[in-house]
């Protein structure tokens, strides 16, 4: 059995009145590529912060490579990209990559780390002159410079243009193929699908799904339906139909469903005044709503 890299046992995290993580248990093994997926505020960043020892669990136990996450030996095996962390401004790209290399017992030559991040041409640039996308690539270079066994990437592609994102994702995939464990957070299902072998979906502090991408996609393949009637419509009309998140506004009703055709059949059986109909793919935020709604129905049943 491969070694455990991350272990969460009943981890909860409370910021004042807000419960950011609620009794989360999770284990990530060496060699896995795991995406933590969820809308803003779902608890992904809190989870990754606790994995790295940047935040302390309010209750429960978190371990990194079998030791406490703040243990420098564990941290010496991790490369990290965080959201919104700053860099010294007066150093050059090459200088800071070389500096970070000295923090780790194993290290890549600075030139190699720059190459992996596609930053060779910016080696001499001062850090205060980098664009948002270039900064993200710099953080990637800093994350790999210690030749880590595991990479933690918190929203790594934020601020990148399409081309930058493509090269970047390719770099992460190469790293994964070489046997590196990767834990990343994202709110793009597509990104998680392209990279990860396992997707853990967070919603309001709990894990609502933990499965391979294909399975998750099948579950969140929700459509968004908008129906317009001749007269006012009541949410009760949709009782018994395979829908979640029903909202009505006068004669218009919107909802999410994995089986839109069945919904239409249900509606037409009861109302003859359906005037207009719009079916579109649900965006991820909505898809999560759907997933959560599904989970609640399952508990109620």
């Amino acid at each position: 059995m491969p070694a455990e890299v991350v272990t969460f046992e009943h981890v909860s995290k409370r910021y004042g009145p807000v419960l950011a993580l609620d009794d989360v248990s999770l284990s990530i093994a060496a060699g896995e590529v795991v995406a933590l997926l969820g809308p803003n505020g779902a608890g992904k960043t809190t989870a990754i912060s606790i994995m790295l020892g940047l935040r302390r669990a309010s209750s429960g136990t978190a371990r990194l490579f079998g030791v406490h996450p703040t243990d420098l030996r564990a941290r010496s095996r991790c490369g990290v990209m965080l959201q919104e962390s700053g860099t010294p401004e007066l150093l050059t790209v090459h200088e800071i990559v070389r500096l970070f290399g000295t923090y780790y017992p194993r290290r890549l030559p600075a030139a190699e780390a720059l190459r992996l991040a596609g930053l060779e041409e910016l080696a001499g640039a001062r850090l205060d002159h980098l664009s948002g996308g270039q900064r993200q690539r710099l953080f990637f270079a800093l994350a790999v410079t210690g030749d880590p066994e595991v990479l933690f990437l918190d929203e790594p592609t934020v601020g990148m243009d399409v081309e930058g994102r493509r090269t970047f994702l390719a770099a992460i995939r190469r790293r994964a193929r070489d046997g590196s464990t990767i834990v990343l957070t994202t709110h793009y299902l597509e990104e998680a699908d392209q990279l990860a072998g396992r997707i853990v979906v967070f919603d309001r502090g709990v894990i609502i799904a933990d499965a391979p991408p294909a399975e998750i996609k099948a579950r969140v393949a929700g459509k968004r339906l908008t129906l317009r009637f001749g007269t006012d419509v009541d949410a009760a009309l949709f009782a018994g139909a395979p829908v979640t998140g029903v909202r009505t506004d006068g004669a218009t009703a919107t909802m999410l469903s994995a089986r839109p055709v069945d919904v239409i059949r249900h509606v037409l059986a009861a109302r003859a005044d359906l005037l207009d109909l719009d079916v579109g793919g649900a965006d991820l935020e909505e898809a999560f709503l759907h997933l959560t709604g599904g989970a609640q129905q399952a508990t109620n049943a």
């Binding site: 079998g66 030791v67 200088e95 500096l99 290290r107």
Partner: protein
Amino acid sequence: MLERAEPAEAGRLAPLLPMLAAQSRAQLVQLVRSPFYGLFSLALPIIFWVFFGLPRAHVTMFGVSGGAYLLASYGAYAIANTMLFTFGIGIAWERGRKQDLLMRATPLRPSVYLVARLVAAAAFGLVTLVVLSLLAWLTGGVRLEAGQWATLVWRLLVGSLPLFMLGLAIGYLVTDQASTAVVNLVGLPMFLASGLIIPLRELPDFVQTAAPYLPAYRYGQLAWGAVGAQADPPLTDLLWLAAYTAVFVAIALRAYRIDESSKFI
């Protein structure tokens, strides 16, 4: 929290000395490239020397030449200012820019980081002292004996500990935006009132009465003692400086813990 027995293969750490050397070098590079920093820490003492030091270079002050006395004063000003600025403004800015978050996620020890900053500040301070001494010699004919100069240098470096701690305390107490103002508001009046810029005997009576209670005055005493203008060894001054160090360490630690718990707990 209960912890399991740690597995033997938990891992290795990077060697400490190369890490400290690289970090110190990076800190020094940043100091040198920082425009405001160079202005306040190097240019101001030079300006003071030219405006206040040169005219008094050959007057006798406190039993020594005014040149030697004021070289010691401006040396003390330069190092004290370096410590207050690099830590007061530097730490506040790093917190504001979330650089501490980036560092936190690496295996760099906070202690190595702090020592590296101190090494860089001391190296920069040393360069400032050399420049000032050369300037005083070339323009005012001020020549200290080698022993006096060495005493001056090490006293100024070691004695700056309470000012370094005061800088740290400010760096953790105030925001990045406020730090420049606070450091200047604390530093400039204190250095003036301690006689580091204009000799104390030329200042108003009430300032002369208050000066002995200021850490920068006690720090100045170490410097003036080194060039023979004060009774030596400066035991009372060392006690005062130690007491101030203890107070500032306590404030800095408390501010650090509060900052820490807001971000990392």
